[in-house]
Amino acid sequence: MAKRVGIEVSLAISEAVKQAKVDAIAAYPITPQTHIVEHLSELVADAELDAAFIPVESEHSAMSVCAGTAAAGARTYTATSSQGLALMNEILYIIPALRLPIVMTIANRALSGPISIWNDHSDIMGARDTGWIAIFAENGQEAYDLTLQSFKIAEDHRVLLPISVNIDGFTLSHVIEPHEFIDQQEVDAFLPEYKPAVQLNPDQPVSMGMVGIPEVYAEAKKCQDEVLKNSEAVVKEVFREFGEKFGRHYQVVESYRAEGAETLLLTMGSVSETAMEAIDRLQDVEKRSVGLVRLRLWRPFPSADLLKAVTGCKTLAVLDRAVSFGSPGGPVASEVRSTLYGVDGAPYIASFIAGLGGRDITIADFISIVDQAESMAESNENHQYKMIGVRE
């Protein structure tokens, strides 16, 4: 295995994109995604990456160009963040409907307003129902590994769907971490050249983006949702192959010291690493029965694996880093409640929202979440969600 290199996570992601030998990149720079696309444009300018780098005037155009290059059969990459993702929104829906396997990094950042450049998950939650596969990385190595794996997942002919790799803005994007890079030869063996199932080709014309009259529209949507749900099996297959080849193993739902724990925390993204520290303290110092479950795959939602991971616990404290305005819980908590509804012996579910707009979530915050969740479970408190660290 290659030696470890200290490098900024954004640059490690660019390296993965280069090693994936993408054909086309269309992107618009936005904080905190900027370093990724800046570096990619340098790699293309320096002829280290033989790809078309297409500068555009907005993210709406970026995603539209990506639709075109992917439809023409090019391995296509883009990256964005926050307002940029919001501006792409209209085109985001069209990509999976056309079955175009684009890979996009989202450096997760809060949405305006107030204007915030800092990290939370409100951007991806706004794009939740667009039909993209969504995966979360917890650190730089994962961001690099998952970027490579995403091309393989997206381009599998059983999938042919776009995928977003979510990395927490600044917390990951701007941090220098040690990364193990995979040799190009091994990347090539793992990720062969993209073979489109159908592409725009004057010799065999096809029409993409058709009108669906009421008599045919519902079937198209049913088909799209089934393909997205079935992609979970391919995600697992690719994770398994990657683990066998490179020794770094990924699961759609990850657990940390969770076996037999009475209380479980559930997190998503880089904050999971802080949560692990909190679990260590709770188990080793305070001798409490608390474990951690981390959601890696957000869409399609891995219901069966989640159910397995939390079966047997009494209290489940779910952390959200976004507000679903007017909803009875955080967006992740709502999915978890829906998954566990009516399940025999299901745990008490407490929904917490924290870390909005870049506010830190500390080990003490996690311990407070566990304390509150256990006491709420004790009294079977009827609640929607609780916001952690908000001034009352």
Partner: protein, 97 residues
Amino acid sequence: MAKKFNEMAWHEYPLGFMVTEPGCAAEYRTGDWRSQRPETDKSKCIKCGVCYLVCPEGAIVLAADGTYDFDLEHCKGCGICATECWTGCISMVEEGE
């Protein structure tokens, strides 16, 4: 196309709802969207073909005598032909109940 989209189950749909055979829109009867239909007073028709050129649906067909007929299975009743007709021989008539 072997089967029309509106005869297919969801799992029979082609990848990405793509159309691989050109011209298949002709297979769908879209004329029933229409609320008005065009009618021609052929005595005034000068066989200029303007209606044929401006029809956005290709729903105007050349008749044997050089005048033009309407393909009412696909005409959506937009009325462009009636507006553009040089002699005013096309009029739009409300579809009956």
